[in-house]
Symmetry: D2
Subunit: 485 residues, 4 copies
């Protein structure tokens, strides 16, 4: 079942110029003209902002022309002076992107807007293709040029090449070739199309605003514009919305789907439901299960704000130990904060988190966090709490240790920076200086999302990826681009 | 004891051009040159950012010259490209201001930097003078000009006029004349001076970074730069720090001091201690007392994020009713959000808060908030929760109804917009649509801050102000500016 | 000889989405590492800024990676905070673009940077292809996508498709297919390549900075970086510079070349030499010939600043009539000037030009301008001079009437806005209100550039274009993209 | 007659914190509401932009409130997004300031807007007081504070102190105390007031737009808004415009006035008339007189663009030697140009000026410039022309050598940087490398402005200042501020 018994990071590491894309996507087909697609997309992206703060973009069409604007920054900044010129039109799609690396470029902002044989096309993509580098090379050999480093551009080229018999056939052909995760929203001059990869690795949901269809990465975007959640887009499904209504096509299928379980642990917003499961409830449940698995005598349960708060609630309720804040968070940590000089940093400047001395002093503390990546932050927090007078600090993590990289869109650091890939739990405990350290088990984690309309990818926890990466790359290399259709 | 039996808003309303100043102040005298004052002030202001997001400013001196920079926006924005030019020097003061009205002006940013008989002077002020308009008129009659609408400029003029015998005498003379609240940080070319009004209405604390004295509106600013909290500046005290160390002068005294209780209810950061009381603990205690006073049968206790969270914790612990989130908050609500058009707004666009349907559906809900000002937000929240399926919504407020305006620095809306000033609790309940509505009593509120090193002003809850405003104005009018000293 | 006896504007009008590109290009191969290519490109573009103020861009390579930055605005604005990150490397190319239409887009800024089979490629183009729309369609049919509306992207796709046997063959193949004007600078990871179209319609020159080769639209860019002018790139020539030195290839040839004569009349900088002729001298000569052809009794010769100044000098010297300024120009007319309201505009607000009353009053005036496009400005100027007291205003134009559109890169307005295409000289005179109006004849104009190393295109003056547009389009439609190479 | 026989720079050098103010001022009283004062001020400042590019500001009143906006940069930049909020109202004044030093501050932008006993007041000032430092000290002793380093703030304080009997008396009293140059525009809530110093050192003119009075530093601002020039404001005159019309008061008088002759030489716009003399004509005349005084055998007369162009015209006409451009100027030299690195600068990068090789090669050249300050630019230009092949370069300056500093508002460098103060003409010639060098004599210069309605200050050329600075300072020190009125 496990396609890869151990993660062998270095061999299948994505090429340097291909960045993992943690993103949010949105699309709306406005049939009744009551609201403006650009405005709805703006509000939707605003609700999806937690999925990406690096860049934002919206493209709209009125059936004739396509207008778009995209830029670096939060969507409130990017569209501050630019939303007005996108008004009018009946279809709109939008995209926000997560800041994963420093060398992110303005040219990589989405949606990707282009002309092709069939007219104008705009694409917004969340996910990561594992064979995009090989596909780029193959397409370049055929004479294609690439102006970005986005997987989206690879998919766009594949679609354009196969578009002789229409966009639907082209998308189907593209899906046969690309391997990896994609929640893809496409806008033609008269259609809104949503595509989810056969494994359903990234979430994608369908909603309705009166008679107008909406798609979004998470259901919280529907709430934001007061649209109704209809259902999740199925793995391998293509949904086409036009003036005749909605049609669904099951372009690909997979025996076992593999939704990224990290969406529940950390990435998604707590008020979203994904594939039938409430993100908040699953996190609360992670805390409950931590309490059952690791009962600890303590005076206080607390959390590292903000994503671990529901798990801490769950632990407190299950254990009967009172919940209180151990750490105060500065709500005004902007993205442009000037780093203090060496002298002040050594001094221990506290910019984001501050220990609540009065709550912590003399107390035995249970601290819940969602994950430990490099360990640096955890070590600082434990130290800060001890200086504030905590008698004991017990660290509980609401997910298993991350031991392998993600190839499907979550930005995990390289192998040697991943504290979990080289150290035992006991070693990590010593590094971060906690009295005890416990992780939720994979089994317990999967129980918190039981009943979902899908299976899950836990590759980062055990190296079992839903795709045999080696095989997929080999197949792509042998592929004859001319014969696919 | 109550100086004013009922609030008579319209008669003593501050003149239109005098805005209430909700602010944060910071000052540091860097004796040992290990850290940079501008940088320390920046980090300190960063921690005080919750006290003011409209403008920020820092002034520093090296004993010869005074350099400063101030501008509109968060301190991370204002100093993004401008901190470097303030480096060097041995004293620094800083200021952040709250956005109270739309017509705020760049010219009103602080610190106020000026030349006077004694050299260069910079002032940063948190508070509100009730007799500043009269004093301005009196000073104008004497030939003074005013370039801002700040109370600070009035104080600066009074100090300059009385400065023949030194700054200390000048400040003492100024304190005899001005009436109201002030936590004032002053920088000369060789001294850092901190002044708190005789009633101690606004908080001001003293700290130490190694051998260097620091002052700040709240203790959380000390934690940020890893300074130690020493003590609160006393009401009526002047603290002077120079190269010879610290000296304290009790310039004025008052039988009953009157710290603003709203600092605990809403304004201060939970990890600060003010006059001996932990802000977080007092809020938790407000919840406990709400639970004791108003036991309600319900399935869930929740909060309106973020300042009501500790009170909700307190209620949950005391009542035994489980705590869970009923509302999800969008963490990326920037200050430049484009308001959606009428159509979308009527639709019920949810930008900041979203109901957690899964938690709320079918539940009897206790919702804790810190205050109700206009009632508009509360009504929307109750409606949102009902639409999400809440069976009952019980609203509990962790402070008494605000029935009177504040003359001492908290931005309360005008009388006719204040829902508590014209409506009974039952009427408010009906307006906001809650099943029940309860407010914490003044007595209970004061119990949550019992043991503090001060008395409290609860004027906004009962109209009993610590200063007889009418009398103060009359006295000021009759004052001979030439004879004070 | 004349390929088109009359201009038939409407039939061959370029498609709406293809904007004429009036641009400046620059490239440098820095063999000896003494100067930085990005910096040299910046200074070069600065000197070419008159050729385009809308957007600017620079791309550089160090042999491995390609870095680039481009944006809207003057190069001083675009690179203000962004030149530093381009430093290092050994090849650099740059581009400035003229603001021709309001709907210009950031995405259309050049250089176009891309990946293709051969690695990384950057292109900067000045000119206009007449068959680019057809070529785009043909390429789209083959599966290509287009992300800009630039001719450059068409050329890039053609090059990429033919690149199996190397870039030189690919460029040669591209040149066989595209029709129109192009001064093209290309950067690979190890070569700088300059290409001029077979007719030599746009200028392109070769220079040397010590041992390092430089190419630029005009020789003034060489002066700016203290490089030496070597020679003009020949029509149809490909120049390849790499670490082995320079090689030249005559890829295409044309019996009669056709340099755009408007470069001398208006577009180029006076201190540039193009194809052997000094721009300043040719303009002075236009004035001399105007004086010979149209001797007028007057008190004063003046010019519409700034490009007509040399012609006015020439007229004054030939006629003996003294030269003096009749119009003062505001040197601070920025691009962001707020248009005054209707009331003030009707009043006759003078933002850019002001009549010199003392010089003009009571005088018979000869006013030289380089061209009349719509006639609006000329009418205002004549009126302004009369109001300032001019007794007579004789308008002389240093070029013939523009009667036909340009298909090769000069931004002429549409047919119905072109005053010369619908009116006789006498009618124009009446419209602009001058006492007399004379244009330089085509023959006289060509005499001013006699001896140049090329022939000239005067299509906008007589409709005789150097390419049979109708035939070129038909050939392109019938072209089999698969067989060219 | 000469109040100071030699300039003794160091003794009376203005204090470091008092910057010379080279500025432009504008004011309008809009009686008939046909145009908007803010808009008119904007257009007026736009025409005066040559007098100051560092900062710009406008203040307007509608009789009740005063609104203003000011900022660093060109007026087109400063008001880009800010003019709209100033619309409405019936009086407006504006100010532009020249960039004289690097440490210019935003807080020093004008108009200075303030409240005083009489209501709201706004002041815009061009000029420089020689006794402002002493006056500041005296005012500080009386308890005044200063928030800027502007002379304007000194004048504002003096006016406020004397304002018991109205603004007119207050201004008169202020004029008795301040010594130096001032063209001052003042706005109260219902009056526009213009004041020119008794010596008339800075220009100030009165115009009319229909029935609405306008004042401006130069008449070109009237042309810009299509207002009519009425007359120059007289030295020592106060002009008061209100709804009852215009009243004039001769507050002070001086036997010999002293308009700054440098306004004609360099500072003013050529299309302005000042005190009856056309700036353009005077410059042309400077050229004529140079030709008469220094006949030189040469092939070409040229100019250093742009202010020396009329003088070069005059020389050419008088001498019969043809005029042609020797230097081309880059019209796009922005204020944010990034300085090239050392390597390129040593190479001789030409950013602003380029020699016209074809015109210059083998020629004997006469080059006219308006002045030589440090000599650095002149040396570079001569070198550039020789490298371009000039056989001889004869430099002629249309003003005498600057040997003394200016105390009245022109930004001359300190004594030791002034090439003319330490070197003979022959020594300067050698330094700049010219074949010959000649300056216009003071007598000849004064002839070019003969017939003006004023006398002239030529202090920078001969050290004879119109005010005995030593005496003025002593008098100010002995002044009793309480007794003036």
């Amino acid at each position: 079942m496990c396609k890869l018994t151990s993660c062998q990071y270095d061999r299948w590491k994505p090429k340097d110029d291909v960045m993992p894309e943690e993103c949010g996507v949105f699309g709306i087909f406005m049939d009744d003209q009551r609201y403006d697609p650009a405005e709805a997309a703006y509000v939707g992206l605003y609700a999806l902002q937690h999925r990406g703060q690096e860049s934002a973009g919206i493209a709209v069409t009125d059936g004739k022309d396509v207008k778009f604007h995209k830029g670096m920054g939060l969507c409130s900044e990017v569209f501050k002076d630019n939303l007005g010129k996108l008004l009018g039109g009946h279809i709109g799609i939008g995209h926000v992107r997560y800041s994963t690396t420093g060398d992110s470029r303005a040219g990589n902002a989405q949606p990707l807007v282009m002309s092709y044989r069939g007219g104008r096309l705009a694409l917004a993509h969340n996910g990561n293709l594992i064979n995009s580098s090989v596909l780029r090379e193959r397409l370049e050999e055929e004479g294609s040029i690439f102006q970005t480093t986005l997987d989206t551009e690879v998919m766009a080229n594949l679609i354009a090449r196969q578009s002789k018999e229409g966009i639907l056939k082209a998308i189907t052909a593209m899906m046969r070739v690309v391997k990896g995760s994609y929640a893809l929203v496409i806008m033609t001059q008269d259609e809104l199309i949503a595509v989810r990869d056969p494994l359903g690795i990234r979430p994608l949901a369908l909603g309705k605003l009166d008679n107008n269809y909406v798609v979004a990465s998470e259901s919280c975007a529907f709430d934001a514009i007061d649209a109704e959640f209809v259902r999740d887009i199925r793995p391998g499904e293509i949904v086409v919305v036009n003036k005749n209504g909605l049609k669904s096509y099951q372009a690909q299928s997979s025996m076992e789907t593999a939704l990224c379980v990290f969406e529940y642990v950390y990435f998604a917003r707590p008020d979203s439901d994904i594939d039938g499961i409430s993100v908040y409830r699953s996190r609360e449940n992670m805390g409950t299960r931590l309490a059952q698995a690791f009962p600890i005598e303590a005076d206080l349960v607390s959390d590292v704000p903000d994503s671990a708060t529901p798990a801490a609630s769950g632990y407190a309720a299950e254990s009967g130990i009172p919940y209180a804040k151990a750490l105060a968070k500065n709500r005004y940590v902007g993205r442009t904060f000037i780093q203090p000089s060496q002298a002040l940093r050594e001094r221990g400047v506290k910019l984001k988190l501050n220990a609540m001395k009065r709550n912590v002093h003399g107390k035995r503390l249970i601290l819940i966090d969602d994950s430990i990546v490099r360990g640096t932050t955890s070590r600082k927090i434990v130290e800060m709490l001890r200086l504030a007078g905590a008698r004991e600090v017990h660290m509980l993590i609401s997910s298993p240790p991350v031991v392998c990289p993600c190839f499907f869109g979550i930005d995990t650091p390289s192998h040697d920076q991943l504290i979990g890939s080289k150290n035992s739990v006991e070693e990590i405990r010593r590094i971060i200086g906690a009295d005890t350290l416990h992780y939720l088990s994979i089994d317990d984690l999967l129980k918190t999302v039981e009943g979902a309309g899908c299976n899950f990818c836990v590759g980062c926890f055990n190296g079992c990826y839903p795709i045999d990466i080696r095989k997929a790359l080999k197949e792509t290399e042998q592929l004859d681009l001319k014969t696919i259709e």
